[in-house]
């Protein structure tokens, strides 16, 4: 049973059909990668799934729930977390506070107990910190815990964003170009982490990625898109050798 089921998804911006009748399924134990040249509509598909864009037609089903018309903040509550291509962090907050926001959907305390910092909230906050510190450890961010984001280098920010998404304890993680801007060493560490997220944490991953070595290394399933349409899908090797994919990337 698929964790994410996208059926005939389309969106039109004015005269431009940015995503055209795209369908695919992500399984709960999969790393599913979308590849394609610039402007193929990969990020648009992401923004449709996380409900930032309104689809023109089609259906998105997540964990058996139709989320096609749900507002974006409810998507996180259902167990889907995402990162952004151009890193969207809370610049003037510390790494720990950024990661703690990942626990927002698990917050239960009412206004009064937050105003007075009652023991019930204290218990919650302690539990939130245990999860957050676990994620911070997993992402090797211990030494930056108390540093505000605006002073951090790019590679670290990428990790903070991933940590924030993991702190939500999602069932599905959407990663928009997780390796862009990373050094080769950092990219290798990322590949290791992605597999650990799938195998140890049991979280499915849907990602957009350009680094084809990373794609072959970690992907269970690859979907190639161009100009909003699906070119082909299957195993990483098969997709990368497919004549349509080769043509889309390097021309005739």
């Amino acid at each position: 049973m698929a964790i994410l089921d996208v059926e005939n998804l389309s969106i039109r911006f004015g005269g431009l059909v940015a995503v055209d009748q795209v369908s695919f399924q992500v399984m709960p134990d999969q790393i599913f990668t979308i590849i394609g040249p610039n402007g193929a509509g990969k990020t648009t598909i992401f923004n449709l799934i996380s409900r930032l864009y309104e689809p023109t037609s089609g259906r998105i089903v997540f964990k058996g729930t139709d989320i096609t018309r749900r507002p974006p903040h409810q998507i996180a509550r259902l167990g889907m977390a995402r990162t952004f291509q151009n890193i969207e962090l809370f610049e003037h907050a510390t790494v720990l506070d950024n990661v703690l926001l990942g626990r927002h959907v698990h917050a239960r305390a009412g206004f009064l107990s937050q105003l007075c910092y009652l023991p019930s909230l204290r218990r919650d906050e302690k539990a939130f910190r245990e999860v957050a510190e676990g994620v911070i450890g997993f992402m090797d961010l211990e030494s930056y815990r108390r540093t505000p984001i605006h002073g951090l280098p790019y590679g670290i920010r990428k990790n903070v964003e991933l940590a924030r998404a993991l702190a939500l304890e999602p069932r599905l993680l959407l990663l928009d170009e997780p390796s862009s801007g990373l050094t080769p060493t950092e990219a290798r560490a990322l590949a290791y982490r992605l597999k650990a997220i799938r195998d140890r944490l049991g979280i499915a991953i849907l990602m957009v990625e350009h680094n084809l070595r990373l794609v072959s290394d970690v992907s269970d399933h690859v979907l190639a898109v161009n100009q909003g349409r699906i070119l082909t899908s299957g195993s990483s090797d098969a997709v990368q050798r497919h004549p349509d994919v080769v043509r889309a990337y390097i021309g005739e």
Partner: protein, 358 residues
Amino acid sequence: MASNDLRIDHGQDLVLVPGRAAALRWLLIGALFVALPWLIDEYFLSQFTFICIYAIAGLGMMVLLGYTGLVSFGQAAFLAIGAYTAGALETAGVPFVVALPAAGLVAAGAGVMIGLPALRMTGLFLAIATLSFAFIVEEVITRWTSVTRGSLGLIMPDATLFGWAIDSERKFYLLCLGILVLCLLGVANLLRSPIGRAFIAIRDSRIAAQSMGVNLAIYQTLSFAIGAALTGFAGALLAHKLTFITPEQFGINVSIEMLTLVVVGGLGSLHGVVFGAAFIILLPQVIAGLRGLLPDAIANQTGIETAAFGIILILFIIVEPGGIYGRWQSLRRYWSEFPFCKAGSFKRQRSFLKSERW
């Protein structure tokens, strides 16, 4: 200092005052302010009462602009609503202990009213909407003479606290100080809770906040409600401090003072609220003092104070966006590393207010 950095339990992250040294420092500062009425004369004490009141009002603005990134040019309206709610209720015989929370609640209601339509607006549009709201409130207060007595003004009775009359400057200062401390504690608690983190998330990236499950509608409205309630409390206290209120006292210049307060104090810091309030109250005193030194042609110009506020606001935005508190922190860092500091490490990071919020 080093011992505080060693953490062996997450509970250590949850205390408001980390370590004994900090607790002692706060105790001393607190004792100083409680002893203040017996240390200075009544005129200066009165200025400190104003600082407390402005700090409470500024706290509301800080929650809105400093922590949630929502600009409001209508704080004077919430101040007026608080002042007139308390005024009307107390004139009708309602005791102060009921009128004060009522002032906060009615202002919060007005905050929700302006917060809900403001959900579709940010930046400049929100500024204009809140500004218009302030004009509407001022006009309503002027016309609604049966309750507010319009431009004739409303005379405030002395506040009573459970039968105990607050009839001297000394008692009233202590009352304002107490309420300020309670408000500061409440806001500090909220800010280190899920609500505060959601506010900061909205301020720094609305799109990421949304994707992490923050309901923008609820939290922006909540921010407006809290910001308005605090300003409403301040309004009730201000009415008592002034003893006589008229609609003109809550004009656009008060809203601009609030904006100046948080920017000059330091956006995104609670210390900044108190520093900013002290700045707003003491600057006119300094200008009055300087009047004698200026040539007559300048000294007798009207609007010198407004101009000074404007110029200082602009200078802070350009030169020190961290405000007084930001400057204070970099000074402290400088001294803590004194012989080993190099100028470069204290240069300000170029982070202006994000243009998209304006």
